[in-house]
């Protein structure tokens, strides 16, 4: 029993495309059982959709031509924190490039394979941390001075463990690691709300690699950059703005930023 009049071609098209209202679907399906011509039409249109679905499907994974690649590449942001330029402003400028650069990388291959590998390792390290893996401090908390020497030896570069207590994050663990790509370290932080952040540091970068990038994967966000020979990645599952604030804290506490203290 139809309530909206006989089935017409518009109904059939909407049915095939999944745009028909549920109550009308029932009417249409019972109509089809007694109208073989319309049933054949539905069959043919479904076949059309099947073929349309694979039309030029290869384009979805095809590499981008150079012209499009450069159309989506942002203008190069200033990479180094110059004298007189406020750190925060620099970070923001670099961030503009970083987000687009990240998208570009994932699509376009890019030439930043070492950085990609690095940030992937950092994400893994964070996953291990938040899933309750090794997060125990290897050295008692509170011996930062001694640790600084240990890290300097490990990286052959001065590294002071960034203190994020100002943002409510206390250090819950540290690990020194070695592996492909060079010596690395992992610092784990947690705040009162239970939010966890991992700072992953690895040496072996060029000074010229200095960039500030963002990667979002699943529900994790990582800000990463290099400073001197060290690459840093700060990973957390939190709002980007909050993580950016933390990233800024870490960045400002780096050895190269604090020439007058320490």
């Amino acid at each position: 029993m139809t309530t909206n009049g006989p089935i017409d071609d518009l109904d059939i098209v909407a049915y095939v495309d999944g745009e028909l209202e549920p109550e009308r679907i029932r009417e249409l399906e019972s109509w089809l059982s007694t109208h073989p011509e319309d049933a054949a039409k539905v069959h043919a249109y479904k076949l059309q959709n099947l073929l349309l679905g694979s039309l030029h499907e290869e384009m979805l994974s095809a590499p981008l031509p150079d012209a499009i690649g450069s159309a989506i590449e942002p203008p190069r942001p200033p990479l180094i924190n110059r004298n007189g330029l406020r750190i925060a402003a620099t970070l923001l400028l670099m961030l503009i490039g970083s987000l687009a650069g990240w998208g570009l990388n994932s699509l376009y291959g890019g030439n930043r394979a070492p950085e990609q590998k690095f940030v992937q390792k950092a994400l893994k390290a964070h996953v291990v941390f938040i899933s309750g893996g090794p997060g125990v401090s290897e050295t008692a908390v509170g011996k930062d001075d001694k640790l600084t020497d240990v890290y300097a030896q490990h990286f052959e570069y001065p590294l002071k463990v960034p203190n994020l207590a100002g943002a409510g994050f206390r250090t819950t663990g540290r690990r020194l690691l070695t592996g492909d790509g060079g010596p690395s370290a992992q610092f784990m932080y947690k705040d009162a709300a239970g939010r966890m952040v991992t700072l992953y540091v690895q040496s072996g970068f060029d000074r010229s690699d200095m960039t500030f990038r963002l990667l979002a994967e699943d529900d994790m966000v990582a800000f990463y950059w290099t400073d001197g020979p060290l690459g840093y990645a700060l990973t957390g599952s939190m709002e980007r703005g909050d993580l950016l604030d933390l990233a800024r804290m870490v960045y400002e506490k780096l050895p190269g930023r604090q020439t007058t203290t320490n």
Partner: protein, 184 residues
């Protein structure tokens, strides 16, 4: 931290998000453009134009709306403009015509319906029918989104689809029996 700084940060992150969303849609734009133009250089030119424009006016994208539909609207407008220009300069032979492309592919021996049959059959459709079929079938837009992209009522989208699909079906049915027609 001063308040304006926070706002600045929020704004930049939002625009960066939009930018990333545009970039994520590029493969879909290429696929749609290639389906529409059937010539990869022409399609990529169109996509490049579209993406450049989109990135230049990111502020006009309203958050909470569909990025693909927004980009398709830009691409559609550029396409319509191109068609108009091409008609105006009808003497221009430098760009491959649709006929060149249509006949480039030899007919399949098989009578089974393949993607290539579909591609050839699409050529036989009127432009406005082909566009709406591709927007929905390839671009995966909803009827409502397609209506917005084209600037027409949803009923118009549906009637174009109905006519286009019927035509597509009969053309493909014809293609499925080429040997019968060739017998002389």
């Amino acid at each position: 931290m001063p308040r304006d700084h926070l706002d600045l940060k929020g704004c930049i992150i939002r625009n960066a998000d939009k930018r990333a969303a545009v970039i994520a849609e590029v493969p879909h734009l290429r696929r749609f453009a290639l389906s529409l133009l059937r010539h990869s250089d022409l399609a990529d030119d169109l996509v490049q134009d579209c993406v450049s424009r989109a990135l230049a006016k990111l502020d006009l994208f309203r958050e909470g709306t569909n990025m693909r539909a927004w980009l398709f609207a830009i691409l559609h407008n550029l396409y319509v403009q191109q068609l108009r220009d091409r008609r105006r300069e009808a003497g221009d032979h430098t760009a491959p015509t649709e006929d060149d492309i249509r006949h480039a592919a030899a007919p399949d021996q098989e009578s089974g319906l393949t993607v290539r049959d579909l591609s050839r059959a699409l050529d036989a459709l009127e432009d406005e029918h082909r566009q709406v079929i591709l927007m929905i079938g390839v671009g995966e837009l909803s009827y409502k989104q397609a209506a917005e992209v084209l600037g027409v009522p949803i009923g118009t989208v549906m009637s174009r689809l109905a006519r286009g699909r019927a035509r597509l079906r009969s053309v493909m049915a014809e293609q499925a029996k080429p040997t019968l027609r060739r017998v002389k």
